[in-house]
Amino acid sequence: MTDRTIAVDYLARVEGEGALRVRIHDRSVEEVELKIFEPPRFFEAFLRGRSYLEAPDITARICGICPVAYQMSACHAMERGLGLTVSPAVRALRRLLYCGEWIESHALHVYLLHLPDFLGYPDAIRMAKEHRGAVEKGLALKKVGNAIMSLLGGREIHPVNVRVGGFYRCPSREELETLRPQIVTALGLAEETVRLTAGLPFPSVEEEYEFVSLRHPEEYPMNEGDIVSSRGLRIPVDRFEEEFEEFQVPHSHALHARRRNGGSYLVGSMARYALNRDRLLPKADAIAREVGLEPVVRNPYRSIVVRAVETVQACEDALRILDAYRPPDRPWVEPTGALKPGACVAATEAPRGLLFHRYRLDATGLIQEARIVPPTSQNQKRIEDDVRDVVGRSLDLDEAGLTTECERAIRNHDPCISCATHFLTLDLVRSGGP
């Protein structure tokens, strides 16, 4: 009988602080624990007593990588509870802002965090010594996402212009048009990214995921739609908590989530794509076909191609919004008369997947209760399942090799531990005989 122990104290190239513990006995994987030691920050507690108008700015600070997602879920939840309907122009501008965040976040993950795994570098800086052109293209693409957020939101991290009921100020058509040449360039770069990533060497792996995402009657999902799953679930967003539950485990500061039937599930780009392949715009659809991307991708390593396709989609969508934009009469709407808040519930598609918010307000508009379920919390259990599978397949590797494979399995899902609280240390214990 032999024991093997591998410890990685901190997972790199993910957003946040975490660790992984894997215990192996007699060639079977006994236990996988994704440990999130990012310190808790208690947003749901200190949101109580704050005005509903503060929710978008405060919840944005949960995550510097996807602040727009928090702003969007918070705004939509409040508007639903207060019975506010925003104008079509505001709706379009929000989608444009979200496109900016998707482009920025996906370019960051694809080029700076994920691609080094495929090309064998510790980071994009060192990768740039031999692949400077690719890294520069990735940064140029990322910069366009940030430019969209800066123009609409004032800045790319924690934009200041998002308001419950709309925007504080809506841009003129001329201001928005200044983005067009940059987005046209980005669209080309994104298409190149699809071709680049589709040509990478991928391990041949298929996982059995239950995919969960929003689905909208006409559009690739962002701010609206029902919650659907690849196993036939279809519910309105306000029934989320009936079908999905959060639970706490001793090894993590992030609550985990599962289906009420106990199963893990996956949110994020692979889920959105699998459940909404038919909603891609023409150029995104064409490039996915060109590189032969299957309609449902079950190989987690190939998520890098899916993110690239979604980046094309976001650029194409942004241009479509620019074409149609006319400034609204009023930048924002607000409740009239006495507040009669109902259930404030919304889910939107953060770059990393479904982001659920629920609030209860009092008659003066102060928050009494807040519940936020970020995508990485939901994916933790599924990521543990992926790691279990990768370890099971790779038992013959030495410790260093196995550690690398575990880290890759986690990075495939672009986890954001700042959101989930944050990320990784690998502690691998092997026991039993070879």
């Binding site: 790199a12 947003f43 004032g154 991290i157 924690h158 212009n161 504080y168």
Partner: protein, 261 residues
């Protein structure tokens, strides 16, 4: 000559301030040519040990382990710069400093006994010597590049400490507070954002913390005239830099804490 070693460390935070470095798309590769990125875990899986020539610290101290870790980092760092509201004032999570953290734990977690946290969220300077504090929620890109360039060039960073109002005038904005009656923290807040909020027709909400010579009683009086009640004024001072001493005191002055009444 060996390139100077740069490190980036994270404590309780949203990751946005270290992301700011990766958001410097035009400067990132040129900066990386001039420094050795010795420890930046969000960006690299390869880290070498200290000592570091320049260390950037994001986030506030909220656990006993982090209180120990910051001491180690200080000992390894020739120059230590804190970046962002969390590291310089305790951040939004310092709202626990005004509340009962055990009650907070019960609200968020079914099993609060699994959670290890301190009762307070404190800035890095409460624990170790800090060479420079770069404010902001998030920090400003050009100020970050200025700070990195300054320390690489062995000079002091040029980062203004005047109010948002000064920047607003420079931009030619109409004053949202005076002309529109919109509550605004611009008069008491340090510039650095480029007077963003007033440029978007809203009031400043204090991302960069107190400016160097704020007049809180005048602003508090004005906010009252605009119809804000004391709890609302206190809340206004208590967001992303709630624990900055000047904002903390202004909040208490607007509505004294219960035990003091």
């Amino acid at each position: 000559m060996a390139r100077p070693k740069l490190a980036v460390f994270k404590f309780a935070s949203c990751d946005g301030c270290q992301l700011t470095l990766l958001d410097c798309e035009d400067e990132l590769l040129p900066v990386a040519d001039r420094v050795e990125i010795a420890d930046f875990r969000e960006a690299s899986s390869d880290w070498v040990g200290g000592p570091f020539d320049l260390t950037l610290v994001e986030g506030s101290i909220t656990t006993a382990e982090d209180a120990r870790r910051i001491q180690e980092i200080r000992a390894q760092s020739r120059v230590l710069v804190t970046i962002g509201a969390c590291a310089t004032s305790g951040g939004i999570q310092a709202l626990r400093n005004f509340a009962d953290v055990q009650e907070y734990q019960r609200v968020v977690y079914a099993r609060p006994d699994f959670i290890r946290t301190l009762a307070t969220s404190t800035p890095v300077q409460d624990h170790v010597r800090v060479d420079f504090e770069l404010r902001g929620c998030p920090i400003n890109k050009s100020q970050l590049i200025e700070v990195i360039s300054a320390y690489l060039g062995n000079r002091a960073p040029n980062v203004p400490t005047e109010s948002v109002c000064v920047e607003c005038k420079r931009r030619g904005n109409v004053c949202v507070l005076v002309a529109r009656g919109t509550p605004c923290l611009g008069p008491v807040t340090q510039t650095g954002c480029g007077a963003l909020c007033p440029s978007f027709d809203r009031g400043c909400y204090g991302c960069f913390g107190p400016q160097d010579s704020p007049n809180f009683p005048a602003l508090t009086g004005k906010l009252g005239e605009l119809g804000m009640d004391p709890p609302s004024i206190r809340r206004f001072f208590r967001t992303f830099n709630a624990n900055a001493p000047a904002f903390r005191a202004a909040g208490d002055a607007a509505e004294p804490p219960k035990e003091a009444r």
